[in-house]
Symmetry: C2
Subunit: 124 residues, 2 copies
């Protein structure tokens, strides 16, 4: 069985010029055969992932490939923004950002928040 | 923005002849373009997903397609078994069950547990 424990592949980084730093656990980064990348984001109060987009060939893109992205809140509360529209997500809530949409997430609460992030090339 | 709230696509079911019932939230079941299915499992104490496998063309397979499966614990504690090997997973821990491996998960603790499940065809 392939097992990864919390912290086995973890780092902390500012993200897309967002405020503060985000703690990241990246799961099965080299071993997965699923067609998505799987991460957990840890956002302290005030931390944010700056708005960004994924679109092949676009100068503003942060990735060379197209990517759809799914955000699923594990704990705490965040504000998710996609294409200028914002909503509050709590535990068990999720948002989906299609390729080419500008999106980002912020913790404007007074408690830590955690999310699962999945991203990969859209199947069309 | 496409948003799904906890409970929007939820059901409860026994799973692969495991004990008890599992609460399932299935995310973006019809709208995702990612090449994985995304679920959250809610396991009360004593609940289990019976052991099963995914292998195209195998009579014992519970799916018609090959599928790799990733289990990531959100909260609580579970026992994960893959090919007869068992380990305890806590929050932030994850296990990966490749196509054709027999696997299942049990909550043998006295508290509820939640996991994110991802499965899809392996990229080879």
């Amino acid at each position: 069985m392939i097992v990864q424990r919390r912290g086995d592949d973890a780092y902390e980084t500012p993200m897309y010029e967002g405020a503060g730093r985000i703690g990241v656990d990246w799961y099965f980064r080299d071993s997965t055969r699923l067609a998505v990348n799987t991460m957990v984001y840890h956002l302290e109060p005030g931390a944010e992932e700056g708005e960004h987009l994924h679109l092949h060939g676009d100068d503003a893109s942060c990735s060379t490939d197209d990517a759809d992205e799914l955000y699923l809140v594990i704990s705490g509360e965040v504000v998710m923004t996609v294409e200028g529209e914002s909503t509050v997500l709590g535990p068990g809530d999720a948002a989906y950002a299609p390729t080419a949409s500008r999106h980002g997430v912020r913790n404007v609460s007074s408690h830590p928040a955690e999310l699962v992030l999945l991203w990969g090339r859209p199947q069309v």
